[in-house]
C-alpha cells in the first residue's frame, strides 16, 4: 500500500491524542469518579499480583477499563464498517447495517430473549452474543444470496441495496413479532438491546471484539486502495485490474464479521457508521485508507463521548447509548446532507 499523503497524515496523530483523552475521561468520570491515583494503584496491584483491591480499584479494573476499551473497539468497528459500505455502494447514506447485519443481530438477540429459556439453549454469557452474531450473519448471507451477488456477473450494487432493504424489513418484522409475543421483562430486554448499551462490557467481550476489530481493520486497509478505484465506477475499476466481484465479497464479509461481533456484545448503535466517514471526508478527503485509519480513531472518540454523555447526563441513571448517538447523529447528518458537494 502506498503511503498516505501529507494532508491525511497530519490528522491521525491528533485523532490519536483525542482518543486517549476521551478514553481517559470515560474511565475517570461516571456515577462513581475514579481518581488517577486509584487507577495507578489498581494497575500496579493487578500487574504485580499483590495487594487487596479497594472497591474503587475493582470498579476501575472490572467495569470502567473494559467498558472504555470496548467503546473504542466498537466505535472503530462501526465507523470502519460504515466507511467500507459507503465505498462499496458508492453511496454516502449507507451504514453498516444496510446489508442486514444489525437487523439480523437484533432478531437473533430477540429470539434469545423470548425463546432462549424454552429452547434450553444456554452457553452462559456467550449465548446472547452468539445468537446475535448468528442472526447478523444469517441476514447478511441471505442478502448476498438473494441479490445474486454469488453469481458471476450479477454483482449489482442496486440489487444488493434493495435486497438489503427487504431483508432488513423482514428481520425487523421478526423483531416486532417477538416483541409482541414477549412478556414484559423480555420486551424490556429487547427494547434496551435495540437501543444499544455498553454496560455489559467485560474482559471477555474486549478480547473477542478486539480480535475481530483488529483483524478486520487490517483486512480493510488491505482493500482500501481497490475501494478507491471502485469509486470511479465498476467498469473503470476492472480496467485498473480490480476484481470487483471478489472485492465486494471480501469487503462485505469483513464488514459483517466486524459489525456482527461488535453488535452482538452491545446491541444496535445507530449513526456512528453513518456519520464518522462523513466527518472524516469533511476534515480531509475521501481516500479510503484515511477513512479506515481515521475511522478507527474517530469512531472511538465519538462513541466514547456518547458513552460519557449516556452515563453523566442523568447520573446515576444511565441512558441507552443508542439514544445519545441518535440525538446527536440526526442533526449532524442533516447538516452533512446540506453539504453533499464534498462527496466524490
Amino acid at each position: 500500500m502506498s503511503t498516505l499523503g501529507r494532508q491525511y497524515r497530519g490528522v491521525l496523530p491528533v485523532l490519536g491524542v483525542l482518543l486517549l483523552l476521551v478514553t481517559l475521561a470515560s474511565i475517570r468520570w461516571g456515577a462513581v469518579s475514579i481518581s488517577l491515583h486509584d487507577m495507578g494503584t489498581a494497575l500496579r496491584k493487578a500487574l504485580g499480583g499483590a495487594g487487596t483491591l479497594s472497591l474503587d480499584e475493582r470498579i476501575f479494573l472490572e467495569i470502567r477499563l473494559p467498558r472504555a476499551i470496548l467503546t473504542v473497539l466498537v466505535g472503530a468497528s462501526l465507523a470502519v464498517g460504515g466507511a467500507l459500505m459507503q465505498a462499496l455502494f458508492r453511496n454516502p447514506i449507507v451504514e453498516p447495517g444496510l446489508v442486514g447485519t444489525s437487523s439480523g443481530a437484533a432478531f437473533g438477540a430477540a429470539l434469545y430473549f423470548v425463546l432462549g429459556a424454552a429452547l434450553k439453549v444456554h452457553l452462559g454469557a456467550w449465548t446472547l452474543p452468539l445468537a446475535a452474531c448468528a442472526g447478523g450473519m444469517l441476514a447478511t448471507w441471505l442478502v448476498f444470496r438473494l441479490s445474486g451477488a454469488h453469481v458471476v456477473g450479477r454483482t449489482s450494487v442496486v440489487s444488493l441495496l434493495l435486497t438489503g432493504i427487504a431483508i432488513n424489513a423482514l428481520f425487523l418484522s421478526g423483531v416486532g413479532f417477538l416483541s409482541y409475543i414477549a412478556r414484559d421483562p423480555q420486551a424490556r430486554s429487547i427494547t434496551f438491546w435495540q437501543l444499544g448499551t455498553l454496560s455489559g462490557a467485560s474482559w471477555n467481550a474486549v478480547f473477542v471484539v478486539g480480535a475481530s476489530t483488529v483483524l478486520c481493520i487490517v483486512a480493510s486497509l488491505r482493500y482500501a486502495q481497490p475501494l478507491n478505484a471502485l469509486m470511479l465506477g465498476e467498469e473503470e475499476a476492472e480496467y485498473l485490474g480490480v476484481n470487483v466481484r471478489r472485492l465486494k465479497a471480501i469487503v462485505l464479509l469483513v464488514n459483517v464479521v466486524m459489525v456482527a461481533v461488535a453488535t452482538a456484545f452491545t446491541g444496535v448503535i445507530a449513526f456512528v457508521g453513518l456519520v464518522v466517514p462523513h466527518l472524516l471526508r469533511l476534515l480531509r478527503g475521501a481516500d479510503n485508507r484515511f477513512l479506515v485509519l481515521g475511522g478507527s480513531l474517530m469512531g472511538g472518540i465519538l462513541l466514547g463521548l456518547a458513552d460519557l454523555a449516556a452515563r453523566l447526563l442523568l447520573s446515576p441513571a444511565e441512558l441507552p447509548i443508542g439514544i445519545v448517538t441518535s440525538v446527536v447523529g440526526v442533526p449532524v447528518f442533516l447538516v452533512l446532507l446540506r453539504q453533499r458537494c464534498y462527496y466524490v
Binding site: 456515577a31 462513581v32 475493582r58 472490572e62 420486551a187 424490556r188 441513571a317 444511565e318
Partner: protein
C-alpha cells in the same frame, strides 16, 4: 416510527425520573452499612420493621411507604445499570431473588465487585410472606417488631376472611396492569392479585396463569367483567374516563357500562406483606361499591 416513539418514550421517562426520584440525594453519611433494596416487597417490610437506618437507596418500583420515594433510586429492578447501583456505594443489596433483579450482566458485574447480595428464599404465598417478615426481622435485629407485624397480619386476615362478614355477591374482576416496557396492557389473572381478589369476595374474569397480553379486545369483551381494577401506573397516565374506555375491549364490558373501573395502587395488590389484610379490605370495598354510570 416505532423506534422514534420508543426513543421519545424512554427519554421522557428518564427525564421525569431525573426530575423526580433520580434527583433524590442520600443526605446522611453516617451509615454503619449501606443497604440498597431493589425489591418493593422487601422495601415495605424494612419500613414496617423500622429497619431503615442504613437503607440508602431503593429501586424505582419501591413506592410504599411514601418515605421510600424520598430515597435515591437506582433504577428499575429488572433494568438496573451498574453505574447507578455503584453510585449508592452499597455494602449490601437486597435483591428479592434471582428472577427479580436484572439484567444478567449487571448481576455478574456486581458479583465480580464482590458486593454482597441477599434474598430470602420463601414461598410466594401469604405464609411465605410471614416467614419473610420474621427472617428479615431476625436479620436486622427486629424480632419483636416482626412478631408483632405477623400477629397484626394474621388478625387482619382473620377479620377480612370472617365468613359472617362475607359479601353476598361475587363480582367478576379483571385487573389491567400497565407494563412499563412498551405500554403494554396485561390482565393479571392468577397469583397474588387473583388470590387477593378471591379473598375480597370476587372472582377473576379471565382464568389464565400469570400475565396475559391484552392483545385482543375480544378477550376482555368476552370475559365481560363486572369490575375492572387498573393499577396506578397505567391509570395515572390516562387522562380520564374517555382514555380508559378507549383501551381495547374495555368499552364493551359491564364494568364500563356501570362505571365500575377503579384505580388501585400496584403496591396494594402485587405482593404479600404486612398490609395484606388491610389491602384485601380495600379491594373488597372497591369490588362491592356501586359504580357511577354515565
Amino acid at each position: 416510527m416505532t423506534r422514534t416513539r420508543l426513543l421519545s418514550m424512554i427519554v421522557a421517562a428518564l427525564s421525569l425520573s431525573a426530575c423526580g426520584r433520580f434527583a433524590s440525594d442520600d443526605t446522611r453519611g453516617d451509615h454503619a452499612q449501606r443497604i440498597v433494596s431493589v425489591s418493593k416487597q422487601y422495601t415495605e417490610i424494612l419500613y414496617a420493621l423500622s429497619a431503615t437506618d442504613d437503607l440508602v437507596a431503593v429501586d424505582v418500583s419501591s413506592t410504599y411507604p411514601p418515605e421510600a420515594k424520598k430515597l435515591p433510586t437506582v433504577g428499575y429492578h429488572r433494568a438496573l445499570s451498574v453505574e447507578g447501583m455503584l453510585a449508592a456505594k452499597p455494602t449490601l443489596i437486597l435483591s428479592g431473588g434471582p428472577s427479580n433483579i436484572g439484567p444478567e450482566h449487571v448481576v455478574d458485574q456486581l458479583n465480580a465487585l464482590k458486593i454482597p447480595m441477599k434474598y430470602w428464599d420463601v414461598p410466594g404465598d401469604l405464609d411465605g410472606a410471614k416467614t419473610l417478615i420474621r427472617d428479615m426481622g431476625k436479620e436486622f435485629h427486629k424480632e419483636a417488631r416482626a412478631d408483632s407485624l405477623v400477629a397484626g397480619l394474621e388478625s387482619d386476615m382473620a377479620r377480612v376472611l370472617d365468613p359472617a362478614k362475607a359479601p353476598t355477591d361475587t363480582p367478576s374482576v379483571a385487573i389491567i396492569h400497565y407494563g412499563q416496557a412498551m405500554n403494554l396492557y396485561f390482565l393479571i389473572s392468577q397469583g397474588t392479585a387473583g388470590q387477593m381478589v378471591r379473598w375480597a369476595g370476587g372472582r377473576m374474569a379471565i382464568d389464565t396463569a400469570g400475565f396475559t397480553r391484552m392483545s385482543s379486545p375480544e378477550v376482555l369483551a368476552k370475559a365481560n367483567p363486572d369490575v375492572i381494577l387498573m393499577t396506578d401506573f397505567g391509570y395515572d397516565r390516562l387522562s380520564g374516563r374517555r382514555d380508559i374506555l378507549a383501551l381495547p375491549g374495555v368499552a364493551a364490558t359491564k364494568a364500563a357500562r356501570d362505571g365500575r373501573i377503579f384505580r388501585i395502587e400496584e403496591h396494594d395488590i402485587i405482593y404479600y406483606g404486612p398490609r395484606t389484610g388491610k389491602n384485601v379490605d380495600l379491594i373488597r370495598t372497591l369490588l362491592h361499591q356501586p359504580g357511577t354510570p354515565e
